[in-house]
């Protein structure tokens, strides 16, 4: 009963926030709504007894991904008027993509049959432990492959954005610390009116 009330509360906030993401004009507000959606989704995960997924969702999506979104969006200076014109032009394409995704989701949801009330894991084992067990035994290979793909993406991002700036003056902390007074300071006798050379 109480859990039901809490579920409907969070579910309503999730849906309203998700609508807010696509409908508000200001794109920073839009990202903030996205963050709210993530947070209430995490709350729904907790209600389902998947506290590990909830913690990871908050940590990864809210703590890292959405913050980077916010960074980028805050730094961009976009004119809203021109964006609106563009939006009308791409509307058919967007609708088409949306329909395809909707179709796929309907197909998948009708294919999978989940017993109502079935728990994700046996209730006596914490699901953090259970996820760890399954991930490193049954799904070890897919897990490792996913890790390698992520690593490739990471290295790719570094390679794409790396510029070796020859002219940049780099600072070497160890060299700086190794510097002594004798190397750094020189006493000179300066004749009046001539200046030091």
């Amino acid at each position: 009963m109480v859990a039901d009330i809490i579920f409907y509360l969070f579910a309503t906030i999730t849906v309203v926030a998700a609508l807010g993401v696509v409908s508000v004009k200001n794109q920073v507000h839009s990202v903030l709504f996205l963050v709210l959606t993530f947070f209430t989704t995490a709350a729904l995960f907790v209600l389902m007894g998947a506290e590990f997924l909830a913690a990871i969702l908050v940590m990864v999506y809210m703590g890292a991904v959405a913050i980077l979104f916010l960074f980028v969006v805050m730094m961009l200076d976009v004119e809203f008027a021109s964006l609106k014109k563009e939006a009308a032009r791409y509307l058919p394409l967007g609708l088409a993509v949306g329909l395809v995704i909707l179709f796929e989701m309907v197909v998948i949801i009708t294919q999978i049959h989940i017993e109502p009330g079935a728990a994700a894991v046996a209730s006596d084992v914490p699901n953090t432990l259970e996820i760890g067990r399954v991930l490193y035994t049954k799904y070890l290979l897919p897990f490792e492959i996913a890790s390698v793909i992520l690593l490739v993406a990471l290295i790719g991002a570094v390679v794409l954005t790396f510029r070796d700036r020859k002219l940049a003056k780099r600072q070497s902390v160890s060299k700086q610390h190794a510097r002594t007074r004798e190397q750094a300071v020189e006493l000179k006798k300066v004749a009046s009116g001539e200046g030091a050379s």
Partner: protein, 347 residues
Amino acid sequence: MSEILQTILPIVHSFGGDLFGPMLWPLVWTVVKIMLLLAPVLLMVTYITLAERKIIGAMQVRPGPNRAGLFGILLPLADAVKLMCKETILPKHADLKVFFLAPALTLVPALMTWAVVPFSPDLIVADINVAILYIMAISSLGAYGVLMAGWASNSRYAFLGAMRSASQMISYEVSMGFTLIPVIMLTGSLSLIDVVEAQKDVWNVVPLLPMFVIYFISVVAETNRAPFDLPEAEAELVAGFITEYSAMSSGVFFMGEYANIVMVSFLGALMFLGGWLPPLEILSFIPGLIWLGIKAGFLMFVFLWLRATFPRYRYDQLMRLGWKVFLPVSLFWIFLTGLTLHLFGMA
């Protein structure tokens, strides 16, 4: 302590159950527990501001604030009254909704994390089995308050401060999380009570001393404290992301900052310094709550000590330290811990 609790709790429960009915009572009881937790936390938050001025005053051979009450004991109260009576100045081009949401979003995560902090084996609001993950998840939300404050203020100083602060918090969160992983590996559990109980023989600070040092430096950087207080570097950015805030709205930011300091001090004491366990078995007549207070208090003192001692870091040095020193070292230490546990068959 626990005997008193065991005698009082059933009486409270039966009384409350009669008064509110079995439906409403668990909710009311939770709210009561939250209040009982937040009152001392907020008291600590207010008094650490006084402690800061007093300690730094003593370190600089001056008396510090001593006018309000005996030894200035009423100063936090006077500060609060002052902040509430001041006029709140609103920037003309600010995004007001986000502007007012930002201080709240700084303070709320800082207080939310306290829900899972145990003060003794049975003094805890919510004993969940992913406590450490919960703390890491919630504390990563602190960056939103800062970013939103900087953006909504519509001021260059505030925006630059927010950008610096958010990237600093994200960077050091990574190394802070990685320093906690060896502790979790040694314990084999994500519950803070288990973590403390596992330190019965030897505190985690002994086998994991480098991790403790990195943890402490990382949390100093993550709470934006000196010598890493670049987001509010007054010499270059006026007051960073707080520039446009005045009166109580800036007061809430400071409360959030100090609540975070108290929080990470308690977390450090629980994770590395044995929590409520006494250092020697002979000293166990002193209650665990006092031991935890002493340990956390010491870490808070070090926070203030650092501020009085070190000059501010340069921004690129700060980033270098986080990504090029702490990250590899803590990753290596995770590997080393795993290898040791495997070799000695303890995992």
